[in-house]
């Protein structure tokens, strides 16, 4: 769970957060202090200990957030783990211990396996494209001189869109009869495709909406990250004659590593949690071709009232995510530590 590291908690100035970087990261927030001042304050750690005399107020500051996190994240997560070993009546009442039966039930149910497979396919066709497109768009929008505010605003808009409203619009765009996409294909002399009604294209069509939105979200994160690359770096690379793809892979991306990690984590999370678009556009159909882990655990829990099985499926997903988190950390820190 601590896969993303917490080194910053114990030292106030870490390599990634030298005073120079801070000024760039939050330009409006920080009046320029000389870095020696900041360092001197940092060495005077005695002040911290004195502050520490009155620990009551800081602890009280943590309490409201602590209650929320305890009640609505930690406790439910633990209960979810426990519930995966029981049968749980939705209306309340005693739980019955069933051991690993829920996991067995989930992992042998063809519909669930299909949902897991669909989620893997959906993730594969959305995560990498939306990150790549997001990065490309951020670089493009950054390089635009005139018209930059317009380009930026236009490319940010999909991120703000209400997914239910957009799912309604995309369902209409991809409608078999009268939909804009099929009309366009008709003009080009290509026959109409039953985008959402055909098991071969339904998942892809839902994924297109996902890419449309996540690419915009990734772009926003990369755009904010690019702004933190110091101007001196651009001058230095220019003087050295490094540019184009080499500059991107050797200079810009390594500097932006925290941004890349953040964007990747969010892209993975939003892909494995796809729900709104599926629920509005296809409801998992046709023939389960767009069923995902989340819509499946929803159905297990709230349509079939099998809360134990739904919990088991959720728990398996959490294990996979933590695994990915650890793996990603190992891969990313490999070259640097």
């Amino acid at each position: 769970m601590t896969a993303l590291g917490t080194e910053n908690a114990n030292s106030s100035v870490t390599p990634g957060e030298s005073p120079a970087d801070m000024e760039i990261a939050a330009p409006a927030a920080v009046p320029v202090e000389s870095s020696t001042d900041a360092l001197r304050a940092d060495r005077a750690s005695g002040t911290r200990r004195e502050l520490g005399r009155s620990n009551l107020v800081p602890i009280l500051f943590l309490v409201p957030a602590g209650i929320g996190i305890l009640l609505f994240v930690l406790l439910p997560a633990v209960l979810s783990l426990v519930a995966s070993f029981f049968t749980v009546p939705l209306a309340g009442g005693p739980w019955t211990w069933v051991g690993l039966a829920n996991f067995e039930r989930v992992l042998t149910d063809p519909a669930v396996l299909k949902a897991i497979g669909n989620t893997l396919v959906y993730s594969a066709i959305t995560i990498v494209p939306s990150l790549a497109i997001g990065l490309a768009l951020a670089l493009l929008a950054n390089s635009v001189g005139r018209g930059r505010p317009f380009v930026r605003t236009a490319l940010f808009l999909p991120m703000t869109a209400n997914l239910v409203a957009m799912a309604v619009v995309f369902r209409w765009l991809f409608a078999f009869q009268g939909g804009f996409v099929n009309q366009l294909l008709g003009v080009a002399g290509i026959g109409a495709v039953n985008w959402l009604g055909d098991t071969n294209t339904s998942l892809l069509t839902v994924a297109l909406v996902g890419i449309w939105r996540s690419a915009s979200f990734s772009m926003m994160i990369f755009f904010a990250g690019l702004a933190t690359v110091p101007g001196t770096i651009h001058e230095a690379t220019k003087a050295e004659g490094i540019r184009g793809f080499t500059k991107l892979t050797r200079i810009t991306l390594p500097i932006m590593k925290p941004t890349v990690v953040f964007a990747t984590v969010l892209a993975i999370l939003s892909s494995v949690q796809v729900f709104d678009t599926v629920n509005v556009m296809t409801q998992g159909g046709p023939q389960g071709s767009t069923e995902t882990v989340l819509t499946m655990s929803w159905k297990l829990g709230f349509s079939y009232f099998d809360l134990g099985a739904a919990s088991a499926l959720s728990f398996l997903l959490l294990v996979v995510l933590v695994g990915i988190g650890l793996l990603q950390r190992r891969i990313l820190s490999g070259g640097h530590k």
């Binding site: 896969a3 917490t6 330009p27 502050l51 490309a136 209400n162 409203a165 729900f275």
Partner: protein, 273 residues
């Protein structure tokens, strides 16, 4: 050669802008055209005439007026609760050195990684057992705090120089006044960015209201729109598009107003590698 590259660049930007904006345009175009203009042959990018009847039909039949009131109350309450819970916690995690802060931060980052379905069912049962199912508090309470908010604000507050905290202490300010007089004004961009993010997230949220709001009066805007779509209105694309436009407009307008601060404030959000 350079001219050709520049042309390619502009072409790519043009394609991206068109793809990004087209669904919004198509939504408005469908919503503004007369209802019988929906099914036509070929491609007609502009409607034959402008007609607001679709908006009236969507507003009435999807009960969007009630939904917007519910949505505003829910989104506003969640925002206030999250600011009250997140700002002090972020301050402690960023600027106060007491034992256990490292662990608290690790827990917050861990919570960022917990997918919603893991907490969904126990939270649903808990809310029902507490008698809050199908109620406004039931919609609001589970979002009373936000791990993402604590994390984002903490990252922003990290960039406040320690010398300033030192100065506040020398002036005899306690934690409460340091927070209200020094930290909150300086973390402004982060607080603004998180507020916009919170409003987006909860205005747009569909899954939790779908579970909790069983009676129609409690439907939030996306839920009202989804119910509208799944009802017998399913093929009245003009009314659906009008409803989608009504639900989409508030967040788009908010974003257009707050855009600059939002992007600025999000730049502190990277997870330390």
């Amino acid at each position: 050669m350079i001219r050709a590259l520049r042309a390619v660049k502009w072409l790519l930007i043009a394609v991206a802008v068109v793809v990004a904006l087209f669904p919004f345009y198509w939504m408005l175009r469908t919503a503004l055209a007369p209802a019988d203009d929906v099914f036509f042959d070929g491609i007609s990018l502009v409607p034959t005439s402008i007609d607001f009847a679709n908006f009236a039909r969507a507003w009435d039949k999807a009960q969007l007026g009630d939904a917007i009131v519910t949505g505003v109350i829910m989104t506003g309450s969640i925002l206030v609760l999250q600011l009250i819970t997140c700002i002090p916690a972020a301050y402690v995690l960023a600027k106060v050195r007491i034992r256990g802060v490292g662990i608290a931060l690790a827990i917050v980052i861990g919570c960022l990684l917990v997918p919603v379905q893991v907490t969904l069912i126990p939270t649903f049962i808990g809310i029902n057992v507490a008698g809050l199912g199908d109620s406004l508090p039931g919609l609001i309470l589970p979002s009373m705090t936000s791990a993402f908010g604590i994390f984002l604000l903490r990252q922003q507050m990290m960039s406040i120089p320690d010398s300033l905290m030192e100065a506040a202490r020398t002036d005899g300010l306690g934690h409460v006044r340091t927070l209200t007089n020094v930290v909150i004004p300086m973390a402004g961009p982060g607080i603004a960015a998180f507020s916009v993010f919170s409003v987006f997230t909860h205005w747009n949220d569909y899954m939790w209201p779908l579970l909790i709001a069983r009676s129609p009066d409690l439907a939030t805007p996306p839920l009202a729109l989804a119910i509208f779509q799944q009802g017998d209105i399913g093929f009245d694309y003009s009314a659906l598009a009008a409803g989608a436009a009504i639900v989409t407009a508030p967040v788009v307008i908010l974003f257009l107003v707050a855009q600059r601060r939002f992007v600025q404030g999000m730049s502190g959000a990277e997870i330390p590698g």
